[in-house]
């Protein structure tokens, strides 16, 4: 039966039933990457970018090629969150070409790349979507650190110094204000407390002194001693000795207790003696507190520039911390490189490590050219530069990431921009440096004081800046040199003296220099700001303002003294009389105690000598008599 069946045709050596489906799968994959992958990658970048930035991100077109390992993206637009009709940044085109040699080692190395036509604040074709920001978390480490820096700066700079000076020069009526603040004056309330304390204690001390002056036990021992002296019988005399010793001990104990109490009282009297000094200190504290309340500035003219410009500078310091944290997040410390290991399914064996003559980090952008051409956009400029050595493993390549950018933003009248950012994560401790130089840029109107007493500032002018920032581990060093040429000043004050002094000072300043340095660990930043404007203003204002400050201080002191004078005098008199009275009495008690103790000791000694000496003589006489009897 089996022979009837025609033998099946033998199959060839290639398994076409598998090869064909796999071939089709490859063809489909190729088709997907040729026709659809770019579109899906574009959508993915737009979605991830929008979620990451918090505002709509658009990509014009993406072209990738597996064969050449290239990536090209055109017209990347990132919506400005504050102004959704515009882009915060627009990039005309980006090109990357990966190195196949590295790709075959599962590494991504971009030998050369270009980022062209960078524009800022360009108008969008449609209004971009903005994702609502999450509620700010004050508990985050970043927020805490920013608050810490701001607190440091606020403590350092306080309020606007010029406004306070103008306010002071205007003069104030402190009388009414002090009446309102009377409850807050420490001196007055404390003097009242002291008076009550002194009067209460006086009653207690009187009672104590009466108690301590009691001499009944001493009198009793003296009485007993007289009886003892009058006794003729030596044996009876000797019998009384223990009772006298017991009485003497009791008397000595009582005297010691009285002396200890007297010493305690002396200490309390001494404490009261320190009350006048405490009152003086409280007066000083009240004056300092009122100085703050009435905004009487504590002027250190050597630090005038810091006070004048410090609040502006602190914004940059907070930003520096923020960018350092971001840099740390995206360029983390390289941990130990993962060694290729054989899974220990069986024995591990021995891995031979041959010298690496050609190795790559996981990602390495070797060199990227950056350029931007002036367009109609307000923020577009002629920039060119390079971005080099962006990598996931800086320690492997051993060179820092550097962004070097030069150009002009003519539409904004910003000329001669030179920017160099260096992110060095090649060592154990990361170091970030930023150097920026702008030859000229317009400075908008800047008010240094805008209070009701003084409006002082600079109208729009042209400046030059040199900015160097270095962030190393947990410390920073920022140097900022700013020069304003031919500035126009705004000086408006109700006080003629201030108006005149400031106007005279600033009219002579044709160039304003500002040199600032902020350095030290983040937890304890040192600030130093120098400016010829600050120095000249300080010199001009010093005499006038110092006089006014002294006057104000004296006025406040007089007012406080006036409020507390009567009670202060009463307290002083009470303290002095109390001290004089009790100190004398207590000294007398202590001296008397010492004398009594001495007397008791002496009498006790005599009594013991008499009792023992008398009895011995008697026995000697009786012995002699007996010897005579024996001779009969």
């Amino acid at each position: 039966m089996t022979t009837e069946i025609k033998k099946k045709k033998s199959k060839g050596p290639i398994r076409f039933e598998i090869v064909l489906p796999v071939g089709i799968l490859f063809a489909v994959t190729y088709g997907y990457f040729t026709y659809y992958f770019d579109k899906h990658l574009k959508d993915g970048i737009e979605w991830a970018g929008t979620q990451g930035v918090g505002a709509e991100v658009n990509v014009g077109n993406i072209k990738t090629s597996f064969i050449s390992g290239s990536f090209e993206m055109t017209k990347l637009e990132i919506t400005n969150k504050e102004k959704p009709t515009h882009n915060s940044i627009e990039i005309g085109s980006m090109k990357f070409k990966f190195l196949w040699d590295a790709l075959l080692r599962a590494k991504f190395v971009v030998e050369d790349a270009s980022i062209l036509t960078i524009q800022m604040d360009t108008k969008r074709s449609h209004t971009g979507k903005v994702i609502p920001p999450p509620p700010p978390s004050d508990n985050s480490a970043m927020a805490k650190l920013q608050h810490q820096i701001l607190d440091q700066a606020k403590k350092k700079f306080g309020n606007n110094i010029l406004g306070d000076i103008a306010n002071l020069a205007e003069g104030m009526n402190y009388q009414d204000q002090i009446e309102k603040l009377r409850a807050d004056l420490k001196t007055e309330s404390r003097i009242n407390e002291m008076l009550i304390e002194v009067n209460t204690k006086k009653e207690f001390w009187d009672g104590e002194i009466k108690r301590l002056s009691d001499t009944s036990v001493v009198d009793e021992i003296q009485k007993e001693y007289k009886v003892f002296e009058q006794e003729k019988n030596a044996i009876e005399k000797a019998k009384k000795i223990p009772a006298i010793i017991k009485l003497a001990d009791k008397a000595k104990k009582q005297i010691s207790e009285a002396q200890a109490s007297a010493k305690n009282l002396q200490a309390e009297v001494q404490k009261i003696s320190s009350y006048p000094k405490e009152v003086e200190n409280l007066v000083k504290e009240d004056i300092a507190s009122l100085q703050g309340h009435f905004k009487i500035p504590k002027l250190d003219f050597s630090d005038f520039s810091t006070m004048l410009f410090g609040t502006d500078l602190m914004e940059y310091v907070v930003k520096a911390k923020k960018y350092q944290a971001i840099a740390k997040q995206y360029m983390p410390e390289k941990k130990k490189e993962a060694e290729p290991v054989i899974p220990p399914q069986r024995q591990v064996g021995k891995n031979y490590n041959f010298p690496i003559t050609k190795g790559y980090p996981l990602f390495w952008l070797k060199n990227a050219g950056i350029s931007s051409k002036s367009t109609e956009g307000e923020f577009a400029g002629d920039f060119s530069g390079t971005l080099t050595n962006v990598t996931t493993s800086p320690k492997i390549i051993g060179v820092p990431t550097v962004l070097d950018l030069r150009g002009d933003l003519k539409a904004k009248r910003i000329n001669g921009v030179q920017l160099k950012v260096t992110l060095d994560h090649t060592k154990a401790k990361a170091k970030q440096m930023l150097t920026m130089k702008i030859n000229s840029f317009p400075v908008p109107e800047k008010m240094l004081s805008n209070s009701k007493d003084l409006v002082f500032g600079l109208k729009e002018s042209v400046a030059q800046v040199n900015f160097n920032a270095e962030l190393y581990d947990e410390s920073l060093d920022i140097r900022w040199i700013n020069t304003l040429s031919n500035p126009n000043y705004v000086v408006e004050s109700k006080n003629k003296v201030i108006q005149e002094v400031i106007s005279n000072v600033v009219n002579g300043i044709k160039t304003v220099n500002l040199e600032a340095r902020v350095h030290g660990p983040w937890s304890n930043i040192s600030w130093a700001v120098k400016s010829n404007l600050g120095d000249d203003l300080a010199a001009g204002l010093k005499v006038e303002v110092s006089k006014k400050i002294d006057e104000a201080k004296a006025k406040l002191e007089a007012l406080i003294n006036e409020k507390v004078l009567a009670k202060k005098t009463e307290l002083l008199s009470q303290v002095n009389s109390t001290k004089a009275k009790y100190e004398g009495e207590l000294k007398a008690i202590l001296a008397k105690g010492d004398a009594q103790k001495g007397k008791i000791e002496e009498e006790l000694k005599k009594a013991q000598q008499k009792a023992t000496g008398g009895a011995t003589d008697k026995l000697k006489e009786q012995g002699k008599k007996l010897l005579k009897g024996f001779r009969l």
């Binding site: 290639i14 598998i18 075959l104 080692r105 290729p340 069986r346 024995q347 064996g349 891995n351 031979y352």
Partner: protein, 175 residues
């Protein structure tokens, strides 16, 4: 999974047929290489590619690989010694350094003593494994399968309608 099961059934069927001993023997050789290699590496993937592209019996390869995994475990010290000897040859150091720095080649893990040792031994023994497996298959067919076919039980089974139905089905739809 269906493909693997199908390959196993195909292996049993082929083992009991009169043809296909080359496919079975090659499968045994591939299984021998897979079983001896200690980890999934580039050469293992190459063997899998050969298995899928060429008509090598996959079931035989998987069963042999399963068997040799245990044997290889016992042979690891020998592989280690041979591998270390090969990797320590001074005249080969520059070649190894070049290979180590070439793309793709490091994925073979050739720098591991056990991988290197097992590769040398399996390459050297592969022809013998092929010949041995071919001999054993032929011997099995002659001494066991033929004798079994002569038994009354098998003849009775062949006479059943169920067997006749299966035989026809296999001729029309089987591989």
């Amino acid at each position: 999974m269906t493909l693997i099961l199908k390959q196993f059934f195909s292996f049993i069927k082929l083992l009991h047929s009169d043809t296909g001993f080359i496919s079975l023997s090659l499968g045994c050789v591939c299984g021998f290489i897979l079983g001896m290699t200690p980890t999934l590496s580039l050469q293992s993937l190459l063997v899998f590619l050969l298995l899928f592209v060429f008509r090598i019996q996959i079931g035989a390869a998987l069963l042999t690989a399963f068997f040799f995994k245990f044997v290889a475990f016992l042979l690891d010290p020998a592989f280690d010694s041979v591998g270390q000897w090969a990797l320590d040859i001074p005249s080969m150091q520059s070649l190894y350094t070049s290979l180590y720095n070439m793309p793709l080649v490091p994925f073979t893990r050739f720098n591991n003593s056990i991988v290197m040792g097992s590769a040398i031994i399996t390459i050297l023994l592969s022809p013998f494994v092929y010949l041995l497996s071919a001999f054993l298959i032929k011997k099995y067919r002659e001494s066991i399968v033929e004798k079994f076919k002569e038994t009354k039980l098998f003849k009775a089974w062949k006479a059943t309608s169920l067997y006749q139905w299966y035989y026809k089905y296999d001729q029309f739809f089987g591989n």
